[in-house]
Amino acid sequence: MDFNLSEEQQLLKDSVDRFVLDDYDFEKRRKTSNSDDGFSRDNWKTFAELGWLAVGLPEEYGGFGGPVETMIVMEAIGRGLVTEPYLPTVILGAGLVAEAGTDAQKESILGAVAEGSCMLAFGYAEPTSRFNLADVSTTAEKKGDGYVLNGHKSVVYGAAAADKIIVSARTSGGVRDNDGISLFIVDNNTKGLTRRDYPTADGLRASEVEMENVEVGADALLGTEGAALPVIEKVVDQGIAALCAEAVGCMEMLKDETNEYLKTRKQFGVPIGKFQVLQHRMVDCFIELEQSRSMTYMVTLKLDEDTESRRKAASSAKAQIGKGGVFIGAQSVQMHGGMGMTDELKISHYYKRLMQIDTMFGNRDWHLKQFAALTQ
């Protein structure tokens, strides 16, 4: 039992922390978020140079590290409220390729991801699926050697910037069957694929992706036809662990900022941190953070266990992180009073991101239901 970082991990942590501190202050972040792309390609290049885009990828394709290293990067991303599409590209996109890809697919994509020349996105949700990953109406019909895709993928983060979008589609079975789901790697400029791009409430970018008779070759199939669900679930659980780490970064920043505000903001002649109700509220925030951090360690260190154990870890961690994040976010706004409501203070931006994290990959209700089913 050991919760310490190795020396290499500590070096990585120092490096990402320094970047966020020095090169990602809130004003820069605001400008970046408000730019057309919603992120900075220069930053992306820096990420590549510093090796962060290779974290968690297989060593034979230039990658290094595993879940703990990903956690370190994502926590810093949370602290800085970083808008670069790290999660869609490195964790989801490259994660799917690493998990299920052919050697050729890995060869062509993973190296490019690591060096920053390929961005990815993952379309898994649909307008009627809510949080059920197995609810796939998008169809892929065989045509010659390849497939024809039709369907609508909802709220695909990072789709506008992605070179390739990985989508789930049904090659057989009924709409909510576990079997019959396949993954396809689709070039973003493929004929028949249209996007509606938009900013999201948390300052990122997402898209509606519609496919009308999109023709792809046999090499677009990622993994075994019809057997993608376990792959998707595994990579989404990795995404959940990463999101948990990001949330912890957000929560810690809010806790520190709000605690500091309580010490400095005066009302009725004393710092408002002298009011016992706010002290106890702040303690509640601290405790939610500690619980969330503990659960993040837990899920990170259990990602490689058997499926049931991994899914229990992911659902329980996500449920805690969703609750804790929204609580700390909302209370930080409340304790900052009017200033917490403003766009110019960072507080509300963290709150909005934490709200989004609660929803992403299924909200508390969804994961408590999964967890209940797994632990009965």
């Binding site: 949700a125 307008p127 009627t128 699926s129 809510r130 949080f131 059920n132 609810d135 909802s154 709220v155 709409v175 909510r176 509606r196 938009y198 900013p199 999201t200 409430a201 948390d202 997402a206 509606e208 005066k266 009302q267 009725f268 009011f275 109700v277 706010l278 909302a330 706004v333 409340q334 009073g337 009017g338 917490g340 409501m341 403003t342 766009d343 110019e344 509300s348 931006h349 709150y351 909005k352 709200m355 989004q356 929803t359 909200n363 209700d365 408590l368 239901k369």
Partner: protein, 398 residues
């Protein structure tokens, strides 16, 4: 004991309903229903329609242009307006400064201001809060120094709702630095066109321009624009805050929001089921509806007491607390109902008159924005923490 409204009250309800049916413009209905941001002209349009009908100021005495409605009538009017998706009436003139003017103002002040306020010719905003004085309102610092027949005002107000639309602002200013904080405050009416006033937008987390900072730099205000006595402004301010809290429960509006939530959850596909059929989601909706019902009957009890002449005391703080909690619960559930479609957030969404269509289902429009803006209701108008302090002191004697 009896819950029924009287036949007269029921007749009044029909009258209001018929009026709304006939007079409320469809485009306003639509905007409100779709949670769109209303333009200045939208508010004024509705104000003029009500003014023409003589229904712009339900609670005011008839002599000042009001309807002198009973609390029950006001409650009925409110319910019908919200049920019909009528725009809200902004409180700054009608609920706040208007009653101060007709209660404490001079005859010439009443004559000049009240008709213009009612007709919408004067749009009012409220200059209370300052950067250093949030919950601790009486610590305000904006200074008014006497210079002949004028005061010269220097200082800053903040969180001034819709100041960018306003023609006039009512301000608490400090006319005396010595003694108790509360005893050196005066209440002034200031023309927003006066030189030296600058309005700077404060963008909120929903990216909307609802509130402002208002800067005063050597602004000359005639002493004649003072309400009542110098240094007695705190009295008028407290009177105004008391009025602000009447109707604060927002029962009718919350009912409407809850109804919309239920409609949305019934329409939302959740992987083969309706979201409303999910046991956990429907329970959360039911919990919220129970809470709203409790609030409704708390409100009715207090209305009934007011009808018999008891002014609301600490109970008003309770209504404010509960009302704001219910609203936040509903807007949170509404965001939750949308699932991933709560995320898309384009500014066009909040811009009056745009031809933009929402991403995702129609019902998604404005939901996230409303939720984010509604985080303010447990902060503004006396934070929840301050309301609890008030109840602890006034009601429980702690």
């Amino acid at each position: 004991m009896d819950l029924a409204f009287s036949p007269d009250e029921q007749a009044f309800r029909s009258e209001v309903r018929a009026f709304l049916e006939a007079e409320l413009p469809d485009d306003l209905r639509h905007k409100v229903r779709q949670r769109q941001e209303l333009a200045r002209e939208d508010y004024l349009c509705w104000q003029r329609i009500l003014h023409a009908r003589g229904w712009i100021a339900g609670s005011w005495p008839k002599e000042h242009g009001g309807c002198d409605w009973t609390p029950a009538q006001r409650h009925i009017f409110d319910e019908e307006c919200h049920a019909a998706d009528a725009p809200p009436l902004l409180p700054f003139g009608l609920q706040m400064v208007g009653p101060v003017i007709y209660t404490f103002g001079r005859p010439d002040q009443k004559e000049f201001f009240l008709p213009r306020l009612l007709s919408g010719e004067h749009w009012w905003c409220q200059g209370y809060s300052e950067p250093g004085s949030g919950s601790d309102l009486a610590s305000l610092q904006t200074a008014a120094v006497r210079d002949g027949d004028d005061y010269i005002i220097n200082g800053q107000k903040i969180w001034t709702s819709l100041a960018h639309h306003a023609d006039w602002i009512f301000c608490l200013v400090r006319t005396q630095k010595e003694g108790k904080q509360q005893e050196g405050i005066s209440f002034l009416l200031i023309d927003m066109k006066t030189p030296g006033i600058t309005v700077r937008p404060l963008i909120l987390m929903d990216q909307g321009h609802h509130v402002n900072e208002v800067f005063f730099e050597n602004v000359r205000v005639p002493v004649a624009n003072r309400i009542g006595e110098e240094n007695k402004g705190w009295t008028y301010a407290k009177f105004l805050l008391g009025n602000e809290r009447a109707g604060i429960a927002e029962v009718a509006w919350n009912k409407k929001l809850l109804q919309r939530l239920k409609e949305m959850a019934a329409d939302t596909p959740a992987s083969g089921d309706r979201l409303l059929d999910d046991a956990v989601f429907s329970r959360k909706v039911a919990e919220t509806e129970v809470k709203l019902t409790a609030l409704e009957y708390c409100n009715l009890r207090i209305l009934a007491a007011m009808q018999e002449g008891s002014p609301p005391g600490g109970e008003a703080s309770m209504l404010k607390l509960l009302g704001s909690e219910v609203t936040q619960a509903i807007t949170e559930l509404t965001v939750e109902a949308l699932g991933y479609y709560a995320a898309p957030y384009e500014l066009a969404d909040r811009t009056p008159g745009s031809n933009w269509s929402p991403v995702g289902p129609d019902a998604a429009e404005g939901v996230m924005g409303q939720h984010l803006f509604m985080r303010a209701i447990t902060i503004a108008g006396g934070s929840s923490e301050v309301q609890k302090n008030i109840i602890a002191k006034m009601v429980l004697g702690l």
